[in-house]
């Protein structure tokens, strides 16, 4: 394989709106090119995280290499990089795109273009990728391939009349897609004889192999024994193994040369040495300039992540470090909370990203976590002229020191069928949205443009959008900038004690409502204790809402039967176990999920 003709390599990815069939098409390509027999195929081969299969979404970009014998009789190496579709994971998408030369744009034949179709296709075009469309799900009764073709041409402006009409699910038209990959996507450039220049587009930590770096070789070659250097971090290492990606496995090979996509393992000691986006070069024969890399992503959403068991703090730190290697968009720094002890303030791309990270930490690293309510980054302008970027509400300075505050605003595009325009506009209004305009895509569909405060959409906006449009609205957003806003910090007092981990920042007009709902929610979440517990919401010491958890009247199991005490003991064990999952705040035990309860203050 080492002497593979560079002109026979195709590096590409598939981009699509969520649920338009990206991963299914990837599976069919793998199956068709004979990497796996259909008997070996597990649905959605590339979604190999347990979590991805369960949710039916792609979280991590995945890469696989297959061999395709084209109709011209030649064999081609196809490096397929599957990418996530959700707006939260644009960063993953953009990293994958940098390793590709072309992209297949999958559009659902019934739904047509959706908000993330646009976002992803623009991302691909920004990376100078050759993009060609395919129309999927043509076997659906509601499929309208001609309409969708026209829509692609009108809205995106790329040629679509000869787009393959396929059904990835039923294996229709896959050959046509493969032929298009060979003929429409250019072979990679670069020369194996130039100094090594490879882009790190992903990495992960393997307990046997250590750090595994995923890279696209742009120039030169790398093999076992090559002494490499990371251009940004300066770290050097000797290559132990190079190889490419089989379906779900690493296959070692002799060398990787210009145009190839593969992995490198090396004597890399510190996971921090391999920053995604960095350029790898030959330490003995370095290239002149590093690759441009990617623009650094900014976290949009922050929350506190704490181990449920304080003693697991070092485990959490290790887990975050390893996870960051696999997900470069994750940010974290240590913090302490009076209520929760030692933990980390983590930054995420969005709420889904937050949920995914939380679940991965819990599953893959076997940690039990307490997370606090998510918030955004506020800019606090102090009277002295200093500006603080506030990620943790607890750190808000005294109101007397604050001149004014700013909150992040996003530009949002919502695509919706015309019958739901009214209810979606109403929703945006409730979320302090500023209407910018509306464009009709065609008679029955429109693109609504709004500016919305980010803190209004990070909680349950997506759910509300779906429920108010019966699932038809799609949504995409990007950060626009900061605007001055009347914000207050809402504190929660439980049994008269302020619980720092429950404080959050909210617009002053919504404060009363939020405070009231929060108290109600906590009243339901906190179990009855032996004494009465007041729950209060307060702004600057002034109580604005109150609920009470009544004292426990009764917790007694009267019946014990026939000398079978095991059931009784189990019940007591369960009770004690339940206590462990609580956080002790003063003399009150608070269930861990209560700290996330602000998330579920959903309006119906």
């Amino acid at each position: 394989m080492a002497n593979m003709d560079q002109s026979k390599i195709r590096n590409f990815c598939i981009v699509a709106h969520i649920d338009h069939g990206k991963s299914t098409l990837a599976d069919r390509i793998i199956e068709k090119t004979g990497l796996l027999t259909s008997r070996e195929m597990q649905a959605q081969v590339l979604d190999n995280m347990e979590l991805e299969r369960e949710r039916g979404i792609t979280i991590k970009a995945q890469t696989v290499r297959t061999i395709y014998k084209a109709k011209d009789g030649e064999e081609y190496i196809l490096n397929l990089i599957d990418t996530p579709g959700h707006v939260d994971f644009n960063y993953e998408v953009s990293r994958s795109l940098a390793a590709c030369d072309g992209a297949i744009l999958v559009v659902d034949a019934a739904q047509g273009i959706e908000a993330q179709t646009l976002a992803n296709v623009y991302l691909a075009l920004d990376h100078n990728l050759e993009v060609f469309p395919v129309i999927n799900k043509i076997d659906l009764p509601s499929a309208e391939p001609d309409r969708v073709k026209n829509e692609i041409e009108d809205v995106i402006g790329i040629e679509a009349q000869d787009a393959p009409l396929i059904s990835a699910k039923n294996g229709i038209g896959i050959d046509e897609v493969l032929e298009a990959v060979v003929h429409k996507i250019p072979a990679p450039g670069g020369s194996p004889d130039n100094p090594l220049k490879a882009l790190i587009f992903d990495s992960l930590y393997d307990s046997y192999k250590g750090v595994i770096v995923f890279c696209r070789v742009m120039e030169g070659r790398v093999a076992k024994g090559t002494s490499i250097q990371m251009m940004a971090t300066g770290a050097t290492a000797d290559v132990v193994e190079v190889g490419y990606f089989g379906a779900g496995q690493f296959i070692p090979c002799e060398e990787l040369s210009a145009g190839m996509v593969g992995y490198i393992t090396a004597s890399i000691k510190n996971v921090k040495d391999t920053a995604v986006g960095d350029t790898i070069t030959d330490a003995k024969n370095p290239c002149a300039e590093p690759l441009p890399g990617y623009k650094k992503v900014n976290s949009m959403v922050y929350c506190g992540v704490y181990p449920a068991d304080g003693a697991k703090y070092p485990d959490l730190r290790d887990a975050l470090e390893k996870l960051q290697l696999n997900d470069a968009s994750l940010r974290y720094e240590p913090e302490t909370s009076i209520a929760l002890g030692f933990g980390f303030r983590c930054g995420f791309l969005g709420l889904l990203h937050l949920e995914i990270i939380q679940e991965r930490l819990e599953r893959e690293y076997n940690l039990d976590l307490v997370t606090t309510a998510p918030g955004v980054i506020y800019k606090v302008h102090k009277t002295g002229g200093d500006v603080i970027e506030l990620t943790n509400p607890t750190n808000l300075p005294d109101p007397s020191e604050i001149e004014y505050m700013e909150e992040p605003i996003v530009s949002a595009e919502i695509m919706v069928t015309t019958e739901f325009i009214g209810s979606i506009m109403e929703l945006c209004q409730e979320r302090r949205g500023r209407y910018l305009g509306m464009e009709y895509m065609e008679e029955t569909r429109a693109l609504l443009k709004y500016e919305l405060p980010l803190n209004e959409i990070i909680y349950d906006f997506f759910d509300a959008l779906k429920s108010r449009s019966r699932g038809y609205a799609s949504f995409d957003y990007e950060l626009k900038g900061y605007e001055q806003s009347e914000l207050v910090k809402l504190d929660i007092l439980i049994n008269k004690e302020e619980v720092d981990a429950l404080s959050f920042i909210v617009h002053k007009d919504s404060a009363y409502e939020r405070g009231r709902k929060m108290c109600e929610k906590l009243k339901d979440e906190i179990p009855r204790h032996l004494f009465e517990i007041p729950i209060q919401a307060a702004i600057g010491g002034k109580v604005i809402a109150r609920e009470t958890v009544k004292a426990m009247r009764k917790d007694v199991l009267a019946k014990c039967y026939g000398g079978d005490i095991t059931r009784k003991k189990k019940l007591l064990e369960k009770q004690k176990e339940g206590k462990k999952r609580m956080r002790q705040i003063g003399s009150v035990e608070i269930p861990q999920k209560a700290f996330m309860s602000v998330l579920k203050l959903d309006d119906k």
């Binding site: 917790d555 009267a558 026939g562 005490i565 095991t566």
Partner: protein, 405 residues
């Protein structure tokens, strides 16, 4: 004071799983009563009693309890066969308490007579409520009048140690109707020696769990509980356990063995045993149980073939040798169910360490919260720890703290 004497004592529990119909709240092990099935089960049961008795030759049997299900559904001759087998195979003490659970409407003259002749000296009648509409709501098969008839019959036959089971927090029950049920029971002549009063608990897997009726709320239930205690105290009953009340000298010896962790062996399906700090129980599968004991070949246990559906060559399952810590846990959470509480000296004698050493701060903490109290008997100097009135209400919270895990 219970002093370990030679030879060791034993309680025997015998499970009779048959019911005319399962009550809506019941999650105990029971099966529909069919004539052939009951005889087959009796045959297996006496076989088990006979075989197992060889393990207990050195024991004095001080209590026998026929529980269910509905033991009073068994044909008279089955009752006789079972009790005769117990007497034939075990050393049954003269003063042994021999109880049977009966349901009004099934306890015929013939069956009660057979029980009496077999040495039975205590009856436990499942009344639950003396209000017909409440009985109906629970899915009971009898009426208030059926109960009076059964009680009269029992007294006529010479039973003077009778327990009445009552229930609180029944759908539709009020404080008043609860008090009326109590009055109906305590004004019987002669009054029953023992009253158990349980509150209805909705258990998973019961019709009530699937389709929960409107129940009196927690506050009301606690008031019923308090009223029950006050009323019965007035009538001369002593509360000796969370849910049990007795005239002086009539505590249920068999039940006390459970709380005090004295050895007992269970016969019949699902029956639990505690022998020398090992807990085990029988299979719950009636078919496996009967097939196992009714095999053609009547050899020794060792020759018995395994039965389909049972992994081992025995119908005993879930055998658990209690660690010292588990024994301590049980000592505490079972002992605290009794109003006399647990004895600090007994704990120290048994485990070689004091309660406060094993559970540092826990007792004091609960004393401070008013859920436990310490009491010293001036004469013997014995120190006891027991639940307070408030402690009873939330006893699970207290008991859970005595688990080590």
């Amino acid at each position: 004071m219970i002093e370990e004497q030679k030879p060791k004592t034993l309680g025997i529990y015998i499970h009779i799983p048959f019911c005319v119909r399962k009550c809506l709240y019941c999650d105990f092990l029971s099966a529909p009563a069919q004539a052939g099935q009951m005889e087959r089960y009796t045959a297996a049961l006496v076989r088990e009693i006979e075989e197992e008795s060889t393990n207990y030759k050195d024991r004095r049997v001080v209590s026998v309890f026929l529980g269910g299900g509905t033991p009073s559904l068994l044909p008279a001759e089955s009752i006789t066969r079972i009790l005769d087998m117990v007497h034939a195979c075990f050393h049954v003490e003269e003063a042994c308490e021999i109880s049977m659970e009966v349901n009004p409407g099934t306890a015929t003259l013939e069956r009660l007579t057979a029980f009496r002749k077999g040495g039975g000296n205590r009856l436990s009648i499942g009344l639950q409520s003396a209000v017909d509409s409440e009985l109906k709501a629970l899915g009971r098969i009898h009426t208030r009048q059926d109960f009076f008839d059964t009680y009269e019959l029992a007294v006529k036959l010479g039973f003077n140690n009778i327990n009445i089971d009552l229930m609180s927090a029944i759908p539709g029950q009020t404080l008043e109707s609860c008090a009326n049920s109590l009055k109906s029971v305590t004004s019987l002549q002669p009054p029953p020696a023992h009253i158990s009063s349980y509150s209805l608990i909705i258990e998973e897997g019961t019709p009530f769990y699937e389709n929960t009726p409107d129940l009196p709320d927690e506050d009301c239930e606690r008031e019923m509980y308090k009223n029950t205690g006050d009323f019965l105290l007035n009538c001369g009953y002593q509360q000796y356990e969370i849910s049990n009340y007795a005239l002086p000298g009539y505590q249920c010896l068999h039940n006390e063995r459970y709380w005090m962790r004295e050895d007992y062996v269970g016969f019949g399906i699902g029956a639990a045993s505690l022998i020398d700090n090992v807990r085990f129980s029988n299979t719950k599968n009636i078919e496996c149980y009967c097939n196992y004991y009714l095999q053609e070949k009547r050899g020794s246990k060792a020759e018995r073939a395994p039965v389909e559906g049972i992994a081992s060559a025995s119908i005993k399952e879930a055998e658990q040798k209690l660690s010292v810590q588990e024994q301590m846990e049980e000592f505490m959470f079972l002992g605290l169910r009794m109003m006399q509480g647990v004895s600090c000296q007994a704990f120290a004698r048994m485990f070689g360490a004091s309660i406060d050493y094993m559970y540092p701060g826990i007792v004091d903490d609960f004393c401070k919260k008013g859920l436990l109290e310490r009491q010293k008997e001036p004469e013997t100097g014995e120190e006891r720890i027991k639940l307070t009135r408030r402690g009873i209400d939330v006893s699970n919270v207290v008991m859970a703290q005595f688990l080590f895990t």
